[in-house]
């Protein structure tokens, strides 16, 4: 799922990720882009996660954004929601640091999705 390109070209890869074992018909489309930006020599990684509703995307954002990155330097991560989609953007100095952060995030994202699946849908506000 991770492709590292030379010379700043984009490589786009669509991945289907099962939401949970109990609802095997639900799939999440994730678009991941990696590029190496020549001008400041940072690695970038983008993730877009569609949710079944705007409300659930907003819930995911609020659950995943409060905690700071464990590693203080060498990585930034920004989360945002537009409509049904949660987007995440990383910049990192080294591939190893990027890998750890993205991997951690995906574990937490899975946990949010499993929780939404097991204890959702959200109550009406």
């Amino acid at each position: 799922m991770l492709f590292f390109e030379n010379k700043g070209t984009f490589n786009q890869h669509m991945t289907k990720m099962p939401l949970s074992n109990r609802s095997s018909t639900k799939y999440v489309n994730m678009a991941a882009c990696v590029s190496e930006n020549d001008s400041d020599k940072k690695l970038e990684f983008f993730l877009k996660v569609p949710f079944p509703s705007e409300r659930e995307a907003a819930i995911a954002l609020q659950s995943l954004s409060p905690d700071p990155e464990p590693r203080k330097g060498g990585i930034t991560k920004n989360l945002d929601v537009t409509g049904h989609t949660l987007s995440v953007r990383w910049t990192a100095d080294e591939a190893r640091i990027l890998r750890v952060s993205v991997s951690s995030f995906l574990d937490h994202l899975s946990l949010v999705m499993e929780t939404l699946d097991a204890f959702g849908p959200p109550v009406s506000q």
Partner: protein, 301 residues
């Protein structure tokens, strides 16, 4: 009468508990146990918690005979503790709080232990000895805050015992401290120097007894000093190490000499659990505090 659910997972125990007006409705818990000679690391511990937390949450609701709609607020451990496990638990707490449309309460783990100890034992205003794998503090309530009167200057007493257990490869099941205590009971020689070589053989249970006696005597001394300072006539022991009967016995002797009362809880509440977080969350909620989602970040300290 608000019903509060509490999530705890700052170390290797993951617990979810539900409380209503001082009555424990459920308090299931799972422990991540490593093989002998190994401690628990943050990444693996977080992975363990991720794998079971939703099951334990459902168990908590089922045992209490409640539906999600019956919960009024969601408490979770904000800190202190290990980062990765704390995040795992906070994420689930935030998600269900939003799903159920209920306020979130970020609780201090240490205060969770103290509030639960007070609830269970009915101690009014005790000097508290908080001893566990991660914490060693003598705490008293003074001028509207819990204040630390004394603490370890390096590692927690439970950490010391856990490391000893690792070195001599004592089993971590159910916990290293419990197994040390069982072995130490069999030691009947108090040895002044911790160097026990008998010819070609060595003896370790004597060392464990020595270590327990010395560590616990140190804790009794600083607790006594805090009591003298505050003019307190009650001692409450909380935290996993508080399960140790020898510690309770030694503290009891000191209390009797001073005419003070000793309070302690059993392993359900000494060891990290979810309902202590729920109880502390309830105290927060009824004094009007809630935690905004943007402020709900976890802290290792």
């Amino acid at each position: 009468m608000p019903v509060v659910i509490g999530f705890e997972g700052s170390a290797n125990k993951i617990g979810v508990g539900i409380i209503r007006d001082g009555e424990v409705l459920s308090n299931p818990r799972r422990t991540y146990i490593t093989p002998p000679g190994q401690g628990f690391l943050p990444g693996e511990t977080a992975k363990h918690h991720r794998g079971v937390i939703l099951t334990v949450l459902q168990e908590a609701l089922d045992e209490a005979g409640l539906k999600a709609a019956d919960i009024d607020c969601v408490a979770y451990t904000k800190g202190p503790g290990m980062g990765a496990p704390l995040v795992t638990v906070a994420i689930v707490a935030r998600t269900v709080a939003q799903l159920w449309g209920k306020p979130l309460l970020g609780v201090n783990h240490c205060i969770g232990h103290i509030e639960m100890g007070r609830l269970i034992t009915n101690a009014q205003n005790p000097t508290v000895l908080y001893v566990s794998g991660g914490n060693t503090q003598v705490i008293a309530y003074s001028e509207r805050r819990y204040r630390i009167f004394g603490e370890t200057i390096d590692i927690a007493v439970g950490n010391c015992l856990d490391r000893l257990a690792r070195v001599i490869k004592i089993s971590n099941d159910p916990s290293p401290g419990y197994n040390i205590e069982q072995m130490a009971k069999k030691g009947n020689k108090y040895i002044e120097l911790p160097y026990t070589v008998k010819g070609m053989d060595v003896s370790f249970s004597g060392i464990l007894s020595y270590i327990e006696e010395t560590l616990f005597a140190m804790l009794v001394e600083i607790t006594e000093r805090a009591m003298a300072h505050c003019g307190s006539q009650e001692v409450l022991i909380v935290g996993g190490v508080g399960c140790n009967l020898r510690l309770q016995e030694m503290m009891g002797v000191m209390c009797k000499e001073r005419g003070a009362r000793l309070f302690a809880t059993d392993e359900r509440f000494c060891i990290d659990n979810g309902v202590m977080i729920a109880q502390a969350g309830w105290e927060m909620f009824r004094s009007g505090h809630v935690t905004e989602l943007s402020d709900s970040w976890i802290t290792q300290r």
